[in-house]
C-alpha cells in the first residue's frame, strides 16, 4: 500500500502553515502506511556557496555539537539550524557535495538524509501521528513539501528504508507501489557510479532519476525514462528546489488524486488527505492520467 501526499503553496498564508497542513494530510494516510513516515520540506534557501545537510543519527544521545565543530574546522563555517528527534539540519559554508563527502568520510555512523540548499528530509519508523509529534512537524513553514506513509513490502522497516529518498541535491522521491526489476537496475546504476544505502526498491528509482539528471536529462525527460526502464507499479511524487512532479505507471493501479485552488496545488493517494486543506470543497480535483508527467514549478526562484 503506502500513502503519498504533496503540497505546493501558491499563497503566503499556506507557506506560513505548511507544516500544519502537511501533518494533517499525512495523518489521514495512516491506514495506508502505519509502519513509517517521512517528509521532505522545501524552506529557507541558504545563500550560494553554502549548503544545507539533513543528518540522521541512530544514537539518541548524538552530540551534534561535535559534528558542527568538525564541519566548521573543515570549511570555516557551520551551524546546527534544526534539531528534530533523530535528525539535525546543518548549514555549512561549502558546496553540498564537499560537505556531504566530509560527513561520509569522517562520520560514517551518520546518514545523509538530504543535501542541497533548500530541502530538509525527516523520516522515521512508527506511526504517522507519532512522527508528526516527535518531529514537531506542525511548526514548519515552507514553499512546498512531500510526505509518505509506509507499509513495507520489498524491504525492512527501518529509518533508512523510509521515504522520501533523496535523489541528488535538493531532489527527492516518494513512491507508492513496488518495482520488480530493482536488483538488476541497481547493479547497472552502481556501475555508473550511483551509490545506494539500502536494498530498497524505491531507492533504485531515486538513483535512476539522479543518473538520468546527471547525464543531462531534464526532470520531465528523466521521468519519461522511468516509463521505459522501470518495471513495476508506481505512483511517484518528485520534489525539486522549486516544485514537484507526479507520474503514474501506464497500468495505473496505484491511486492518485490531484487538486488545485488559487492558494495551493495538492496531490495525495486519496481524497481524504486533500479534504483537510482550506477550501478543499471548492477545489478543482482530478485523477492524473497514466504515464503522463505532471509538473508544478515556482516562478522566479533563484536556486
Amino acid at each position: 500500500m503506502c500513502g503519498i501526499v504533496g503540497l505546493f503553496a501558491k499563497a503566503p498564508r499556506i507557506e506560513e502553515r505548511l507544516g500544519e497542513h502537511l501533518a494533517a494530510m499525512l495523518v489521514q494516510m495512516s491506514s495506508r502506511g502505519p509502519d513509517s513516515a517521512g517528509v521532505a520540506v522545501y524552506r529557507d534557501p541558504v545563500p550560494a556557496g553554502s549548503s544545507k545537510l539533513t543528518l540522521y543519527s541512530p544514537d539518541p544521545h548524538e552530540h551534534w555539537g561535535a559534528v558542527e565543530d568538525g564541519l566548521r574546522e573543515a570549511f570555516g563555517g557551520c551551524d546546527v539550524r534544526e534539531l528534530r528527534a533523530s535528525h539535525a539540519v546543518l548549514v555549512v559554508d561549502a558546496e553540498a557535495d564537499a560537505a556531504e563527502a566530509w560527513v561520509r568520510e569522517q562520520r560514517p555512523d551518520l546518514r545523509v538524509m538530504s543535501a542541497g540548499r533548500v530541502i530538509e528530509i525527516y523520516k522515521e519508523v512508527g506511526s504517522p501521528e507519532e512522527f508528526v509529534d516527535s518531529f514537531r512537524l506542525r511548526d514548519l513553514h515552507g514553499t512546498h513539501a512531500l510526505g509518505h506513509t509506509r507499509m513495507a513490502t520489498e524491504s525492512k522497516v527501518t529509518t533508512e528504508g523510509s521515504h522520501p529518498f533523496s535523489t541528488g541535491l535538493d531532489l527527492c522521491l516518494v513512491h507508492n507501489g513496488s518495482l520488480s526489476n530493482h536488483n538488476r537496475l541497481r547493479e547497472y546504476l552502481r556501475r555508473e557510479g550511483i551509490e545506494f544505502q539500502t536494498e530498497n526498491d524505491t531507492e533504485v528509482a531515486a538513483g535512476y532519476l539522479a543518473w538520468r539528471l546527471r547525464e543531462g536529462a531534464t526532470l520531465e525527460q528523466a521521468l519519461e525514462g522511468c516509463l521505459e526502464d522501470l518495471d513495476g507499479f508506481y505512483t511517484f511524487a518528485v520534489g525539486t528546489a522549486d516544485g514537484f512532479a507526479v507520474l503514474r505507471d501506464p497500468i495505473a493501479c496505484k491511486p492518485a488524486v490531484l487538486a488545485e485552488t488559487d492558494e495551493w496545488v495538492a496531490m495525495a493517494s486519496e481524497w481524504r488527505s486533500i479534504a483537510v486543506l482550506p477550501g478543499a470543497a471548492e477545489a478543482r480535483a482530478w485523477e492524473p492520467e497514466p504515464a503522463v508527467v505532471y509538473v508544478w514549478e515556482r516562478a522566479g526562484v533563484a536556486v
Binding site: 495505473a252 493501479c253 488524486v257 481524497w271 488527505s273 479534504a275 485523477e287
Partner: protein, 235 residues
C-alpha cells in the same frame, strides 16, 4: 437535491458521526422500518459509505466519497453529489447509484444488476467483470474498461481508453466517441434497432440527453479459448 417531498429527511453529519455508526443505522433498515430519505454531510473522502444497503432508501451524499461507496447495494438509490474514488457501486445487486462528478477506477466492478450513472468521466477498468449491471457514463472511460465483462451494458457517451472489452463474454458495450483500442476478442458489431431501443431506454433511465443512433456497439467475437467446445473438458 432530487428529493422534492415533505417527507422527513434524516440528516447525518460525518463530522460528528462515524462511518460505522451511519452504516449500522442504514443496515438496520433491512429488518426494521425507519426513515426512507437520508442526507449525508461531510463525507470528505471516507471509505465504504452506504455499503451493503438492502432497503428502499434514497441516500444523498453531499461531497466527495472514498473507496467502495454503495458497494453491494440492493434496492436503495444512492446519489453522490461530488466525485467518487475506487470501486463505486462495486458488486451492485439492484437499485441505483448516481454520481454527479468523476469516478476513479473499477466503477461498477463485478456488478450483478441495477444501474450505475456517472455524469462525469470514469477512470480505468470501469465495469471490470460486470455480471448484469448497467452502467451509463456521461463522459469518457479509461483503459481496460469492461475487462472480462460477462453481462449487462456499458454505455459511454464520450471516448473509451485502450483495450476496451478485453476478453469480453456477453456484455454489450455502446460508445458514442472514439475508442483508443479494442482489447483481445472484442469487435465492433452492427447497431440494430433492438440495440437502439435498449440504448434509448438506458439513456432515459440515466437522465442523459444523447441520440442513441450516434453510438457504436462492441461485443465479443467469441474466438478465445473459453468459447471453443473442444476445451470444455478442461474446466
Amino acid at each position: 437535491m432530487a428529493v422534492a417531498t415533505s417527507e422527513a429527511v434524516e440528516v447525518v453529519d460525518l463530522a460528528t458521526t462515524s462511518v460505522r455508526e451511519l452504516n449500522q443505522r442504514l443496515h438496520d433498515l433491512a429488518r426494521t422500518p425507519g426513515p426512507r430519505l437520508w442526507r449525508i454531510l461531510n463525507p470528505n473522502g471516507a471509505h465504504a459509505l452506504a455499503c451493503g444497503l438492502d432497503a428502499d432508501l434514497e441516500v444523498e451524499i453531499e461531497g466527495h466519497v472514498g473507496y467502495y461507496c454503495a458497494g453491494m447495494n440492493k434496492r436503495a438509490t444512492v446519489r453522490v453529489h461530488g466525485n467518487a474514488s475506487t470501486g463505486i457501486a462495486e458488486n451492485l445487486m439492484s437499485g441505483r447509484v448516481e454520481v454527479d462528478g468523476n469516478v476513479s477506477q473499477s466503477a461498477g466492478a463485478t456488478g450483478r444488476g441495477g444501474l450505475l450513472v456517472v455524469r462525469g468521466n470514469a477512470s480505468s477498468r470501469c465495469g471490470i467483470s460486470m455480471k448484469g449491471i448497467d452502467i451509463v457514463v456521461g463522459g469518457d472511460v479509461g483503459h481496460m474498461s469492461a475487462f472480462m465483462a460477462q453481462k449487462g451494458c456499458l454505455v459511454v457517451c464520450g471516448d473509451a481508453g485502450d483495450a476496451l472489452g478485453d476478453s469480453i463474454y456477453e456484455a454489450r458495450l455502446y460508445v458514442r466517441g472514439k475508442v483508443a483500442g479494442l482489447g483481445a476478442d472484442c469487435i465492433e458489431k452492427e447497431l440494430r434497432e433492438e440495440h437502439v431501443a435498449q440504448l434509448r431506454g438506458l439513456l432515459e433511465a440515466a437522465g442523459i440527453d444523447a441520440d442513441p443512433t450516434e453510438f457504436r456497439r462492441y461485443g465479443s467475437a467469441r474466438q478465445l479459448y473459453t468459447f471453443k467446445i473442444d476445451n470444455a473438458g478442461a474446466y
